[in-house]
């Protein structure tokens, strides 16, 4: 009996270690390469350590430009997406109107088809409208990927705000707008933050459409990766990957602290 249990625990331990290696292995490999002078195949560690590649990335005008472009475009995309989608989310969450279901499914449909097909037909349209190779073109392409997050998640949050909480606020003397600002929006805020984070990551990591529309005039961080893989030593790509992951790590960290860590749960603990 005890032997079987020990065996089972060893099995679980081995599985956990294998899983860890599978998940963390590539990240460690990436981290090591970002600081390695070079790495010849059979050796277990790098030939030497340096921060040279980091200096090279920051000094290279193309790479630094891609970082700037990404950091400019992504917030704009998220902002526009929020401005367009949040009112729609509120309408979907709180009102029933003809075609509501179709609207919801339609929004999902944009994500259901292979994106590259959508982008190819979009490119034809963009050529006609002179949007190819422009920042506006990239913003539009990246917007497409954020719509689902920015409508579906907040819509369910708006729907979950009990009417009685809004009525109590009106009864207390607040105008409709004040009620929306201080009660409805405030209670939906954790979910809206999640939607913002998801949209930010979707926009920041979007490569296919941005490459199709932007190259060769404009490169964002993910599309610059294509060039890096072909034209630079592997260590530069490693440095760039780490830089690309920074916003994700920060945002997911924030999400953990602020959203999973109680505010969302507390916000909706309503009897």
């Amino acid at each position: 009996m005890n032997a079987r249990r020990a065996l089972r625990e060893i099995g679980i331990g081995a599985l956990a270690i294998a899983l860890m290696a599978f998940i963390l292995g590539p990240i460690l490999w990436l981290g090591a390469h970002a600081f390695a002078t070079s790495w010849t195949f059979p050796r277990l560690s790098a030939d030497g350590w340096t921060t040279h590649w980091w200096h090279e990335v920051f000094a290279d005008s193309a790479l630094a430009g891609a970082i700037r472009t990404s950091l400019l475009i992504t917030p704009v995309v998220v902002l526009i997406s929020a401005v367009i989608c949040l009112p729609a989310a509120y309408a979907i969450g709180r009102h029933s109107f003809p075609g509501r279901r179709l609207f919801l499914i339609g929004m999902f449909a944009a994500n259901a088809f292979p994106k590259i097909g959508l982008f190819a037909s979009l490119a034809a349209l963009f050529y006609a409208m002179n949007l190819m190779g422009t920042v506006i073109g990239i913003v539009i392409v990246q917007l497409l990927g954020t719509i689902v997050f920015m409508t579906w998640i907040p819509a369910s949050a708006f729907a979950a705000v009990p009417r009685s909480l809004e009525e109590a606020a009106r009864d207390a003397g607040a105008s409709r707008l004040t009620v929306f600002r201080t009660i409805t929006l405030r209670l939906a805020m954790p979910s809206i933050l999640v939607a913002v984070i998801m949209s930010f990551l979707a926009s920041f990591d979007e490569a296919q459409g941005s490459y199709l529309v932007g190259a060769p005039n404009i490169y964002t961080m993910p599309t610059e990766m294509y060039a890096l893989v072909e034209n630079y030593p592997i260590q530069v790509a490693a440095v760039f990957s780490i830089l690309l992951s920074v916003p994700s790590v920060i945002l997911i960290g924030l999400a953990r602290q602020h959203i999973i860590g109680g505010r969302l749960a507390e916000g909706f603990q309503i009897r």
Partner: protein, 348 residues
């Protein structure tokens, strides 16, 4: 408006509903309802679910606009005003506290949205929190306090507005039985000392009877009777009221020589108005005890007589099942077409 209310204080009702009518989904929920509530009075709107009491309350608060009729609060017609502009404050059934605010901020909210000065807010909120004994929970979140305490926060949030009219929507229905009695008395004491005109909506007759100055019994969108609790119980104006408030034995027919005999109308007999003894006497008919069910401080005894089966409430010596004796009706209510004709007293 303020000039009018001071001089007319004695004659102006705290709340007046005039020919109030509302249909929802093609069904008439409230049907030309008229009601005057005296200033400082606590009036219960009592009725079964679906009788229109909640719809009426929502029209008083301003969440629903009536199809026809008027709502006047302290002499002022508020029918066209939204809830935020009415001098009424409501305590919601589920309390509707805002989970993202502390107790203090929940109570302060009505003053903040009205732009009251910050020091004034602190002073008034602390005052009202002391009134409902919640000062120690000033900085707690609603989720951290008990149901009874949440209820008091909701009450504080209404009282801090110093409303002309306080609306309570089934305020005790979420509390357990023991707490319900305690909170009920607290609300009553507060309401009396502050002298606020109050409407309490409830489907619980015990609650209505014990807390209110008068009770309006609602049925099918209309008011069947408005009376003091004791009058309502002693002289229910309609058969519906007799059956809904308290409990009755109800029979088709008339009472003749202490027996229920065929005849026009209905006889309603309260279970406590049936007397069972072993010896024969005037107006008593032979009866046999069919069942005895203990109900706490009294027993429910089913008596079978040759004319009818009677459900009686008895205290003191309780007969065993199968006991033979004599049962007499001490008092009965006689109805014709649903309306009270007379209260028939049996022989002493």
């Amino acid at each position: 408006m303020t000039e009018g209310t001071t001089t007319m204080a004695d004659t102006t009702p705290g709340l007046r509903l005039a020919a109030l009518t509302k249909s929802l989904g093609g069904r008439r929920i409230v049907d030309s309802l008229a009601l005057d509530v005296h200033p400082g009075e606590m009036l219960a709107l009592l009725g079964p679910s679906g009788c229109g009491k909640t719809t009426t309350l929502r029209m008083i608060a301003g969440f629903l606009s009536p199809d026809a009729g008027r709502v006047e609060i302290a002499g002022r017609d508020v029918t066209a005003l939204g809830p935020e502009r009415r001098p009424s404050a409501m305590v919601f059934q589920q309390y509707a506290l805002w989970p993202h605010m502390t107790v203090f901020r929940n109570v302060a909210y009505p003053l903040r949205v009205r732009g009251v000065d910050r020091h004034e807010i602190t002073r008034r909120v602390d005052e009202v929190l002391a009134l409902v004994h919640l000062t120690h929970h000033r900085d707690s979140r609603p989720a951290q306090i008990s149901g009874g305490e949440q209820q008091r926060v909701a009450l504080a949030r209404a009282l801090v507005q110093q409303p002309d009219l306080l609306l309570l929507d089934e305020p005790l229905s979420n509390l357990d039985a023991k707490l319900r009695v305690q909170v009920r008395e607290e609300i009553r004491t507060l309401q009396r000392s502050l002298g606020i005109t109050t409407i309490i909506v409830t489907h619980d007759q015990d609650e209505a009877l014990s807390i209110s100055d008068r009770i309006a019994v609602m049925h099918d969108g209309r008011i069947e009777q408005v009376s003091t609790p004791s009058e309502l119980y002693a002289r229910p104006a309609t058969e519906f009221v007799a059956q809904f408030v308290g409990s009755v034995n109800s029979y088709e027919g008339v009472l003749r020589d202490g027996a229920v005999r065929p005849g026009p109308g209905t006889i309603a007999i309260r279970p406590e108005h049936i007397e069972f003894r072993l010896e024969a006497r005037d107006g008593a008919l032979p009866a046999v005890v069919r069942s005895v069910v203990p109900r706490g401080h009294f027993h429910e005894v089913v008596l079978e007589r040759e004319d009818v089966t009677l459900r009686a409430y008895m205290t003191g010596r309780i007969p065993d099942e199968g006991t033979r004796g004599w049962a007499r009706v001490q008092q009965a209510l006689r109805y014709r077409d649903g309306h009270l004709q007379e209260v028939v007293e049996g022989q002493a």
